[in-house]
C-alpha cells in the first residue's frame, strides 16, 4: 500500500461507516440505555449522550446525513455550475445574463445565502443543501466558463460547428472531455468545504432537528457535557475531521491526475509525500 492511497482509503472507510452504520448499530438512535452523560463502560463503548442514548449507536446512524446531504449539495453545485459555465462560455449572447448575477453571488458569503434562504422558507435540510450548493456554483461556473471559452476556439470545435453539429452536442462531446481538469479543479477543497458548510448549518440548528442522529447535531447537543463525557462530542468531531481531511487530500490527487494524466505519480508526490 502506497502512502498515496491513504486519503482515498480513509474516505472510503468513513463513507462505509456512514452508509452501513445503521445496520451495525447495537441500539436504535433514540433508545435510552442509561443515565445521561455516562462514561464509556461495558455495553456502551462510547458512553451515553445528553439524553442517555448510546453514543456509538447514534454515531453509526449519524453519518448517513453528513455524507448524503454533502453529496447532494456537491452534485447539484457541479451540475448547475457546470451547466451555467458551459452556457456562458459557449453561447456569447447569454454570457452577461448568466455571469453578472454569479459575480454578485460570489461576493455574498455563503452564510448570508443560508440565512436568507432559511429565514425565507423555514429551516430544513432542503435549505441547507441549496445554500451549500449555491456556495460553490459561482466558483465552478467561472472556472468552467473560462475553460470553455478557451476550448471553443480550438480547431476541433470549429470543425464540429462546420459539420453542423448542435451547440449542445458540441458541449457534451467536444468541450466537456477537454475541460475536465478545470471542472474538477480544487475538487477536494470544494467537497470538504461543502461537508463543512452542511455540518456547520446542522450544528447551528438550521438544518436537521433533534432527535435525528447526525454527527454535527451530536456535537451541538452534547457540548454542554464536554467536561463530563467528552466522547459524546469528540467521537463525532473526530469523524467529521477525518472525513473532511481525507476528502480534501484525496480530491487533490484526483485533480492532479486529471491535470497530468501521464505523470500522475510525479504530480501526486507533492501533497502525498509527507505521509
Amino acid at each position: 500500500m502506497t502512502p498515496r492511497a491513504i486519503p482515498g482509503l480513509l474516505t472510503a472507510a468513513v463513507i462505509v461507516v456512514a452508509l452501513a452504520g445503521p445496520w451495525l448499530a447495537p441500539h436504535a438512535p433514540t433508545d435510552v440505555i442509561g443515565p445521561p452523560f455516562s462514561p464509556p463502560g461495558p455495553g456502551r463503548v462510547l458512553g451515553t449522550d445528553y439524553l442517555g442514548s448510546d453514543v456509538l449507536s447514534r454515531l453509526l446512524h449519524g453519518g448517513y446525513t453528513v455524507v448524503g446531504l454533502s453529496a447532494a449539495a456537491t452534485a447539484i453545485a457541479y451540475l448547475a455550475g457546470g451547466a451555467l459555465g458551459l452556457a456562458a462560455g459557449l453561447a456569447g449572447r447569454v454570457d452577461g445574463v448568466i455571469m453578472r448575477p454569479i459575480d454578485v453571488l460570489l461576493a455574498i458569503p455563503p452564510f448570508l445565502v443560508l440565512a436568507v434562504l432559511a429565514a425565507a422558507t423555514g429551516r430544513g435540510t432542503v435549505v441547507v443543501v441549496a445554500a451549500s450548493a449555491l456556495a460553490n456554483v459561482p466558483g465552478i461556473s467561472r472556472v468552467v466558463r473560462a475553460a470553455a471559452l478557451e476550448v471553443s476556439v480550438r480547431g476541433y470545435v470549429e470543425a464540429a460547428y462546420a459539420r453542423g453539429e448542435s451547440r449542445f452536442q458540441i458541449a457534451i462531446r467536444d468541450v466537456i472531455p477537454n475541460i475536465a481538469a478545470a471542472l474538477f479543479a480544487e475538487l477536494g477543497a470544494r467537497i470538504s468545504g461543502t461537508i463543512a458548510l452542511v455540518a456547520s448549518a446542522n450544528f447551528l440548528g438550521l438544518g436537521l432537528q433533534p432527535p435525528t442522529a447526525d454527527w454535527a447535531l451530536m456535537v451541538a447537543e452534547n457540548r454542554t457535557g464536554l467536561a463530563v463525557q467528552p466522547w459524546a462530542v469528540l467521537a463525532p468531531v473526530l469523524l467529521i475531521a477525518l472525513l473532511t481531511i481525507a476528502v480534501n487530500l484525496g480530491g487533490d490527487q484526483v485533480t492532479a491526475r486529471l491535470r497530468h494524466p501521464r505523470s500522475a505519480t510525479k504530480a501526486d508526490a507533492q501533497p502525498g509525500s509527507t505521509h
Binding site: L112, A115, V116, G205, L226, I245
Partner: protein, 330 residues
C-alpha cells in the same frame, strides 16, 4: 494627465460597481424573502394563535396590517428608503428596532472579527511569503500539506478540539467566553484567545496558500533573477522586490477570506457562547424574523463589498505600477 483621468475614472468605476453589487444583493435578498415559498403571515399566526389555523379573514387582515398586500416594488422602495435613512425596520417578534438589536452586540462581534482579521493577514503574509520564496522545498511542502489538513476542518470541529485541549486537558483558558454585562471582551482578553485561534486556524491555511502561490510565481520572474544576478541577498529580494508585487494579486483574495470570516464568526460565537450578534442572528433565522434578517443580511453584504473595495484601493496605494493608465478597463 491621461494617467490621472485613468485613475479617477477607475476609482469612480469601482465605486459605482460596488454600489451596483450592493443594490443587486438587496434585490436578491428582498426577492428571496418575498417570493420563496413560506408566508410571513403563517409565521406570525403560528406564534400568536398557538399553532391554530386562522380564518382567511384574519390572514387577510394581518396581511393588510403588515402592508404585504401592496405591490412588491412599493414594499422594496419603502424598505430601501428606510435603510438609507437609517431605519432598519422592526423585529417581527420583539417589536424592537432592528438597529437597536444589532447595535447592542455588534461591537463585541467586531472586536472578535477584527482581532482574527489582523492576525490572519499577518500570518498569511508572513508564512505565505516565506513558503512561496522557498517553493518546492521541504518546508514549503510541509506548510502546504499542513494547510490542506487544517483548512478542511469546519470551525465548530476546531473549536471543540481547542476547548478540549486548552480548557479541559490543560485548563489554561476558559471554555466559554463569559463577559459581564456592559463590559467589553477586551477587559478580559483571555476569553478572546480560543475564538480568535479557531477563526485563524480555519482561515489561515487558505490565505497562506493564496499568498504562497503569488509569491512563488513572482520569484520566478525575470526581475527577481536579475536581482539575484546583481548579488542582492535572497531575503532582501523577497522583502524589497517581490513582496509588494505578490501581494497585489493576493490582496483581493485576502479580502474575500476576511469577508467569509462572517460565517465562521457566527459558528465560533455559538460554540463559545460569545456575547456577539450571533445568538440573535441564529435565533432570528430559526424563528424567521424576516425584517430583521433582511436588514442584517443587507448590512453584511454591504460590508463584504466594502472590504473588497478597500482591498482594491489598498493595492493601488501599495503598488503604484498597477495604477491604471487606461489599460485596466474592467
Amino acid at each position: 494627465m491621461g494617467a490621472r483621468f485613468g485613475l479617477v475614472g477607475y476609482l469612480v468605476g469601482r465605486l459605482c460597481a460596488a454600489v451596483g453589487v450592493v443594490a443587486a444583493a438587496s434585490v436578491l435578498i428582498f426577492g428571496a424573502m418575498a417570493l420563496l415559498p413560506g408566508d410571513v403571515v403563517d409565521v406570525i399566526l403560528s406564534k400568536n394563535a398557538a399553532g391554530g389555523s386562522a380564518s382567511p379573514e384574519a390572514r387577510a387582515a394581518l396581511r393588510a396590517e403588515l402592508g404585504l398586500d401592496r405591490p412588491l416594488v412599493e414594499r422594496y422602495a419603502e424598505w430601501i428608503g428606510g435603510v438609507l435613512s437609517g431605519d432598519l425596520g422592526r423585529s417581527l417578534f420583539s417589536g424592537r428596532p432592528v438597529a437597536e438589536i444589532i447595535g447592542a452586540r455588534l461591537t463585541n462581534t467586531a472586536i472578535l472579527a477584527a482581532a482574527a482579521a489582523v492576525l490572519l493577514v499577518a500570518l498569511a503574509v508572513g508564512f505565505g511569503a516565506w513558503a512561496g520564496a522557498r517553493a518546492g522545498r521541504a518546508s514549503d511542502r510541509a506548510i502546504t500539506t499542513a494547510s490542506v489538513t487544517l483548512g478542511s476542518l469546519p470551525e465548530f470541529v476546531i473549536a471543540t478540539l481547542l476547548i478540549q485541549l486548552f480548557a479541559f486537558t490543560w485548563p489554561l483558558l476558559p471554555p466559554v467566553s463569559i463577559v459581564a454585562p456592559g463590559q467589553r471582551p477586551l477587559r478580559t482578553p483571555e476569553v478572546l484567545v480560543l475564538p480568535v485561534l479557531t477563526l485563524v486556524a480555519v482561515m489561515a491555511p487558505q490565505t497562506i496558500r493564496m499568498v504562497r502561490a503569488q509569491m512563488a510565481e513572482v520569484m520566478t520572474s525575470p526581475y527577481v533573477q536579475a536581482a539575484r544576478l546583481h548579488g542582492i541577498g535572497e531575503w532582501r529580494i523577497v522583502t524589497h522586490h517581490a513582496l509588494r508585487n505578490a501581494l497585489a494579486p493576493a490582496t483581493p483574495l485576502l479580502a474575500g477570506s476576511i469577508a467569509w470570516l462572517l460565517g465562521g464568526v457566527v459558528v465560533v460565537e455559538t460554540v463559545f457562547n460569545y456575547p456577539g450578534i450571533s445568538r440573535d442572528l441564529v435565533h432570528g433565522i430559526a424563528t424567521r424574523d424576516l425584517p430583521y434578517i433582511q436588514s442584517v443580511t443587507l448590512l453584511f453584504a454591504a460590508f463584504t463589498v466594502a472590504v473588497y473595495l478597500l482591498a482594491d484601493l489598498g493595492v493601488l496605494v501599495a503598488v503604484p505600477q498597477l495604477r491604471p493608465i487606461g489599460r485596466r478597463h474592467r
